[in-house]
Assembly symmetry: C2
Homo-oligomer: 348 residues x 2
C-alpha cells in the first residue's frame, strides 16, 4: 500500500521537516502534494529528487488525499482541517487549533498510540515542549503514577520557526560587532539574554505555552486533574528544547530504577553519567530523533521526588517526526476510518 500525502505549510520550518522525514523514513508516498499560503504558491520543493510545485492550500486540493499534514498556523488548521477530514483524509495537525477538542486525539505514538482509534478525521500532535517532557516522564508514570509536575524550560529560537534562528544569529553578530541588535520575532533581544515569555500571557499570569504544557500533559496521560506548573523560557539556542523537570511520584523510586525504565523506553536515550560529565545538551540533540534524559536524581523537595533534565530537537520529535510517526501508527493500526461521531470512547 502507498498513500497520497499532502503537506500544508510545506515552506515553513515544521512543514519542510515533515517533507524530509517522510523521505528519510521511507513513508510509502504514492503522490505528494505541497501546499502553502498564496504568497508561496508557484515555488517548488524537492521530494525524493523530484520537484513539486507548491500550490495555495484550498479545500479542493484535499480530494483523494489519504493523509494531510497541517504545519501552518492555528487559523489555517481551524479553517481547512475539517475540509480535509470531510474529504476522507486523515488530518495530522501540528498546530494548537484542535489539541484540546474532546473529539480529537492528542498523540505521542510511543505513549498513547491507542488514542488514535478514537479519531474522527483529525489527530493532533502536541506542543514541542510537551512532547519532549512526556517522552522523558511518561515511561516512569506507567509503572509509578505521577502526582505532580513542576517544569522550567530552556526553549530554542527555532520554536518560533526558521525566522527565530535567523533573528538570533543576526542579533548575536550585532552584539559582537557592538551594533544595536533588532528584534521582531521575539519580544526582546534573545542573543546573550534569556526571555521568560514564550507565546502570549493569559489572565492567570501563565503564558499560552505554559498552559499547553499543563492541558496537553493531562490529556495525553488521561489525568484531568494532574497538577502541572511550568515556566517557559526562551534561550539563545538555535535548535533543541531543554527542560528541568521535577516530579512527585506515587511510590518511592530510586534514580537507578528510573534510569532502568528509561533505558528501555522507545525513542529515549539515557545520557546520565555525571562522573564523565555526561548529560543531555541542546547542541548534541539538534538533528537527532530521540529525546535525551539525564541528571536523574532524587528530588529532595518533593515526596517520592524525581528530578531530571531532558532535551529534544523541537523541530524533529518535537514537531515533524512526531506527526509522521502518527501517520505510521495510523497505517500500522489500519485506523484510516474516522470513528462515528457517537462512538463510545471505549476501544473497539
Amino acid at each position: 500500500m502507498s498513500y497520497t500525502v499532502a503537506i500544508v505549510g510545506v515552506t515553513g520550518a515544521a512543514g519542510g521537516e515533515v517533507l524530509r522525514i517522510l523521505e528519510q523514513r521511507q513513508f510509502p508516498v504514492k503522490e505528494l502534494r505541497a501546499f502553502a499560503s498564496a504568497r508561496s504558491a508557484g515555488t517548488t520543493v524537492t521530494f525524493r529528487g523530484t520537484k513539486v510545485t507548491v500550490q495555495e492550500a484550498k479545500p479542493e486540493g484535499f480530494t483523494g488525499a489519504d493523509f494531510v499534514f497541517f504545519a501552518a498556523g492555528g487559523s489555517t488548521s481551524k479553517a481547512l482541517a475539517p475540509e480535509a477530514a470531510r474529504r476522507g483524509a486523515v488530518v495530522i495537525d501540528k498546530s494548537s487549533a484542535w489539541r484540546m477538542d474532546p473529539s480529537v486525539p492528542l498523540v505521542i505514538p510511543e505513549i498513547n498510540a491507542e488514542d488514535i482509534r478514537q479519531h474522527r478525521g483529525i489527530i493532533s500532535s502536541p506542543n514541542c515542549s510537551t512532547i519532549v517532557m512526556l517522552m522523558a516522564i511518561a515511561p516512569l508514570h506507567h509503572g509509578n503514577p505521577i502526582k505532580r509536575i513542576i517544569v522550567d524550560t530552556y526553549q530554542s529560537a527555532s520554536g518560533a520557526g526558521y525566522k527565530g534562528i535567523v533573528e538570533l544569529m543576526q542579533q548575536a553578530r550585532d552584539v559582537l560587532d557592538k551594533k544595536e541588535p533588532k528584534h521582531a520575532v521575539f519580544p526582546y533581544t534573545l542573543a546573550f539574554n534569556v526571555v521568560p515569555q514564550v507565546e502570549e500571557f493569559t489572565p492567570s499570569g501563565y503564558t499560552t505555552e505554559e498552559q499547553k504544557m499543563q492541558d496537553e500533559t493531562r490529556k495525553i496521560l488521561h489525568l484531568p486533574g494532574l497538577p502541572v506548573s511550568a515556566t517557559c523560557v526562551r534561550v539563545p539556542v538555535p535548535i533543541g528544547h531543554s527542560e528541568a523537570v521535577h516530579m512527585e511520584m506515587t511510590h518511592p523510586m530510586t534514580p537507578q530504577q528510573a534510569r532502568d525504565v528509561l533505558a528501555k523506553a522507545p525513542g529515549v536515550v539515557v545520557e546520565d553519567d555525571t562522573s564523565r560529565k555526561q548529560y543531555p545538551l541542546a547542541m548534541h540533540a539538534a538533528g537527532r530523533d530521540e529525546v535525551f534524559v539525564g541528571r536523574i536524581r532524587a528530588d529532595v523537595a518533593l515526596e517520592n521526588g524525581i528530578s531530571l533534565w531532558t532535551v529534544g530537537d523541537n523541530l524533529r520529535k518535537g514537531a515533524a517526526l512526531n506527526a509522521v510517526q502518527i501517520a505510521e501508527a495510523v497505517v500500522a493500526m489500519q485506523a484510516f476510518t474516522a470513528a462515528a461521531p457517537n462512538s463510545s470512547p471505549t476501544r473497539r
Copy 2:
C-alpha cells in the same frame, strides 16, 4: 571614622567589583591595600584616582586592617582568612570556604543582618544564586513561612569570572564564523547551548552549586530542614543570573499580595506587568544593584503555591555589593569585635 580596608583577589572579577563598589558607595576608606596571588604582585589598581600597587597576599599584610575582603578562591580564604581575623580584622569572605561553618554568620544584610553580631572575625557572603533567590523570596517568607522551594537557574558566564565572559564571546564568534569553538572554562561549548552543570557533581547527583542553594538558604532563613531542590544551569549570557522559583507557602497568598510585599522590600524591584511584556531580563539587570522580580503568579502545582522569575547581577548584588553591604552593616551596628568563642548564639 574611616577604615583600613584590604581586598584579597583584587585583580579578579569579584575583587575588582569590590574595589569599584567601595568607591561608588563612598565607603569610608582611610587606606586601601590591594592583594592578589604572587603572579599579579607588582601590577596596580586604581582607587579614587590613585594607583595602588598589588602585593602578594600574606598574613603580615593584614596587620592593622579593619576589614579584609576575600574575593579569591576557597583555598586562599581557608588559609588566610583566620590569619586576618587573628590580627583583629573583620573578614568578609566571598568564597564558599567558611559559609557552612557554624561559627561563621552567612549574611544578606537586607535579610539577616542581625546574624552579624555572632561573628568571631569572619563573616561569609553567600553564593550568587542563593543571594538572588533569597532577595526575591525572603520578604514573602517573613510574613508567610516558606515550606518548600523548587528552583531552576539560568546562570551567566561571569559566574565563572571574567574568563567565562571572554570564553563565551569567543565561542559565539567562532560559531558565527563557522569555526570550531573551544572551551576551557566551561565543560562544553556554552555559546548557543545550555549546560546543566555549574561546579562539580556530588554523589547525590546534585552539583556543589545546587547543594549550596539548599544549604545556604536553610542557614540564612534559619530553617535547617527546609526542602530546597535546585537545578543549576549555565546559559550563554555574559552577566545576570535568572531563576524560576516555585514555592509552597504556609498560608494562601495571592500574586498581588506577593507583589505588594516585594514592592516594599529593600533592594528589590518588582517588574511585573505582563500586559506590557514587563518582566525581569538579564540584559536589563546587568550593572544594576537591585534584584528584579516578576512573573509572580499562583503556582498551580503546589499548595499555597507562588511562582516567580527573578534576575540579579551576579557580580554586584550576587557578589561584591553584598560583601560591601556586610561591611556597611558592621559599621552601622558597631559590630567590629569578634564574639567570644563560647558566647551564646542568642543576641547580646
